[in-house]
Symmetry: C3
Subunit: 434 residues, 3 copies
């Protein structure tokens, strides 16, 4: 209701009256709908829509990129993800009947294959002619590690589902996660992943308030380095811990894949690479709602019981905690949703550590020019390696003063360069003797 | 948020990206507000707003055709339905005090008669002058079979409340029903009634999934015939059942009356006409919400206990079942509400059996031309008979091959023509010897 | 959805079709946002946002004049009220950490003083330069009688918090109240306070329905007089009670202060002045939501136990009663919220007793001209006295026929004039010998 009032001035105490009061979000970046720049960019990638375990006897209503969909697994075991409203009279297929092959609308019995092809139009004299003229909108599906993915873009440019190097590490199994619901725009999640700075503030609040969460060492002073990698953008967070320099990297890969290293690493013991910890995919549900789907990479020799690990890895990531608890022990969910349904960049005041939207802004521009965006691959052999890992090196091996920021940052940049020659997963496999 | 993207093309597998993504509903048809074409059409008819049993000690807030109203029965037993907001300061009369005559606003005590006339303005020196210059908006009421109806159109063209022939059948009593709430536009309900096709698919799902609901014979192959009748549009659903041809008709009468025959009829025994089963009136609450009010026609000699019948006749018609149950055993409510708050006709792909909106489209056009619509009567003697019934005839009496669609449809058309000469209720009364 | 239909005509029975159906509220009066006429007017006054008792270990999210804010008390005991979204990345400070000095954002640890000054930007190399270029929007605070007030207007024209004469009455203590939530525009509350007429109708319903609330004498015939006073607008409600004339006054002071006399006074015993009973401040939360904050003035020698008094003084003022109870025993909350989220003045039909919006309409006009509005004071010595009280005088002392309206009104006007010479609180103190 309020008119936007813009007044720029030097800061003064009690300056609320002179601060910009409202502004609109940048929907060309944040919008996820068909026909918008951001929406067309997103439609060049595979998106998670459900865990396979959610597909049972009844159809599952889902929403992705602002579209209402229904997901199901038919009698053959084929997974279908179709437009929710039946192409006949628009009744929702969430009330449909799952058949040996395909799904049937509850209202008049039209039967659709998992690809949207019309198989039957009961009681219709002109059945064959009508079947040739209409289909139910549907999307190609791919099931990986217990997660159902769909591709919602132009069928003539369907990319390969990127099977990452970190999915194939010996003695590490992939365990599907749970839905992590966030009532905010997907860009806020993206920016959180590309924001190393918050890990040593937000994620250390639980420790400071008496709860075990991330390793304590996350709180120690850290230097950040951003690196463009073949598949996306990585950051290096580098610290001196005891007699080591610990370089932790995380990577945003393609439009919606996020590679995370262990939150329990403490940098005490030198190592060349660590096993993957989490991979998560962010689904933009619509302009103001998102869901993270994830897999845990679980090593055979983990010390922590899996139930405990799962509890800690989802702590603060979901909408299911009481408000007062979220106030006292806030997590990523609360910081991101706390920016509002769609964050208004125009009212931000960024510091040196804030980067990150550049990567997908470039991708949006590419799609608008009619090109494929960065992180888009038509063949599996083109899919580049990933770069999220931990490297811990004795100070003796680092040139320069280990208490000087320049030394630490220079070392992190060197690690990034070395990764381009031998990616962390290759290092890890070599160390494992595989 | 999403831009509407329109792409017409031949169907292909996984064609979701190329399907039209969004479109707006046709509000000139679906809109119910004052001053809209559909809203003015609807304002030429009597609408149900409450069951008489709902009017007790406190005023009842109701909503009809997008208007907030308050319904009450005063000390004289007179029913009033007035604009909800007091004409003085707009306070809601739902907090008003029901008086021996009329209703009094809680705020400053203005007293209104059931017709909206101002009876008292407490403490006002200029009381008589003000009473002559203002009234509370109100509508004429009519109570029938325990249901309160109002007429919201121009007072100079008030129609008769249509007392239908099917209300006066010997040994058949009228029992008021319950509110059936539907979170969708009224046109979806209208189309459902004029859609015979769904009865042999949607309504046979419960049987196929192990629950007794409609007679099993509804599932058998059926042929449909649409007939314009004096008061509205009737459809005939015709089947061969055992050694008979069973012709079942239902009728949409005027703007909002729906005449339904028994859902337990099975066509096993020849008969010329059956007693009425249900009559229901659809109230457009606002653009995206409707309520069905109904009466059960209960014969003296019914076999089924009334409680059981009532359970089966409202099964699937209301919003009160758990989501998973509605998914497994969907009913009319779920199919209609599943089309969305206001169905978008532009994204439908109709078949041969889809008709029905034509009738009220004609009515809307008539009102826009300044004429009375079809189904509008100023005198009771002009009210035509109704045509919902079952006729079961031995195959021997039908000319042609009873397994050929043409034979069955021709016979149904003949039954329709015969009904025009002798309507089913007349046949029934004659058979009953009355 | 409905088109506005405007038809003016003489009243007739059942005139609903011809009544204006919809209209828009007057947002230049009702709007509370920054940059709107009403919103700028409101920003010239102190507004309550929380009870001090609500500020504990965790930040408190509040909303005032359409702005999201966070209120807290830091380790020094200083109260801060800042814009809710952190000026860095817009994360909500409701998840912030209250520090010994100021509040720290949960996301990246920026620390803000209670006046919005940036105290720390952790990990930022350019910290000093950034601190000099940005601040968190904040507002000056004032704590009085357990209530936190803020001033949201231009810092160069900050008014004094008006310390009223009625706050300093010997042997009368001030007890903070509770939040009274009203889901409606603030103007409806304003008009209710300036509407003496409803007290002898709305507030006598509980009595007539068997519950003790206001004194019975409120129901007796009353005459009303409106008087412009130095700080606002007062009304006098004058009645003959037994052998006395009882003149009760209430005052709307400045933009949002309301002075109320006892609801238990009955006019039986002559007196020159009564102690204050309630003072409440109306906070416009946003265009369609308001909260009343109040203090009870509690005399040492009150008969009624405080718990009972508190129960009766908040009866009907809040949103916490069941709907049916509110229908049967409506209170101010129900009458005001019953006018809708934002009352539409265009559909009202006022009587002789309806006044009151004039005062703040004048104030809005003044602010639009660049002037200070009525009720705005830069110095405490300019703050005028208040005029809410009861005066009860034996009929023998009143000139004229005490049963004639003119006599009673003339006497009330004389009381008002006397108050200008010696305000009620002065009279009271004199009588108390202080």
């Amino acid at each position: 209701m309020a008119t936007t009032v813009e007044i720029r001035r030097k800061p003064a105490p009690f300056d609320g009256y002179h601060r910009k009061q409202t502004a609109e979000p940048d929907m060309s970046l944040c919008g996820v709908g068909r026909g918008t720049p951001g929406g067309e960019y997103l439609r060049r990638f595979w998106h998670p829509v459900a865990y396979l375990s959610e597909l049972g006897e009844l159809p599952l209503r889902v929403r992705a990129l602002g579209e209402d969909l229904v997901a199901f697994r038919d009698g053959r075991g084929e997974v279908g993800v179709l437009h929710m409203r039946c192409c006949h009279r628009n009744t929702s297929l969430e009330y449909g009947i799952i058949e040996p092959r395909g799904i049937r609308c509850c209202y008049h019995g039209r039967l659709f294959d998992t690809d949207g092809t019309v198989l039957e139009i009961p009681g219709e004299p002109a059945e064959e002619r009508m079947k040739a003229s209409v289909s139910q909108g549907g999307y190609p599906t791919h099931v990986f590690a217990g997660i159902v993915f769909i591709y919602m873009g132009p069928p003539e440019r369907i990319p390969v589902f990127p099977h990452l190097d970190r999915f194939d590490v010996p003695n590490v199994s992939l365990v599907p996660g749970v839905r992590l619901n966030l009532e905010c725009n997907w860009v806020q999640i993206k920016e959180n992943v590309l924001d190393p700075h918050h890990t040593n503030f937000l994620h250390t609040i639980p420790q400071r308030r008496g709860m075990q969460h991330f390793a304590d060492e996350f709180e120690s002073s850290v230097h950040f380095t951003f690196l463009e990698m073949p598949g996306g953008l990585a950051y290096m967070g580098s610290r001196k811990v005891r007699d080591n320099i610990w370089v932790r990297s995380a990577e945003s890969y393609g439009a919606n894949i996020h590679c995370i290293s262990s939150i329990f690493e403490n940098g005490h013991v030198p190592k060349a690479a660590t096993a993957p910890f989490l991979t998560f995919w962010t689904l933009p549900v619509d302009d103001a709602v998102s869901v993270n789907f994830f897999i845990s990479h679980v090593s055979e020799n983990e010390n922590m019981p899996f139930e405990k690990r799962r509890e800690l890895e989802i702590f603060g990531q979901n909408d299911d905690r009481p408000y007062a608890e979220r106030q006292f022990l806030p997590g990523d969910h609360d910081a991101q949703v706390g920016q509002g349904p769609i964050n208004v960049h125009a009212t931000e005041h960024l510091g040196s550590h804030d980067r990150g939207v550049t990567l997908f802004r470039q991708g949006i521009a590419a799609v608008e020019r009619g090109e494929d965006p960065k992180g888009f691959y038509m063949k599996q052999e083109d899919v580049p390696p990933t770069f999220a890992s931990d490297r811990v090196v004795p100070i003796a091996e680092v040139q320069g003063d280990p208490d000087d920021a320049k030394t630490v940052i220079a070392f992190a940049e060197k690690v990034g360069k070395d990764y381009l020659t031998e990616p962390p997963i290759s290092v890890l496999k070599r160390d494992l003797g595989t």
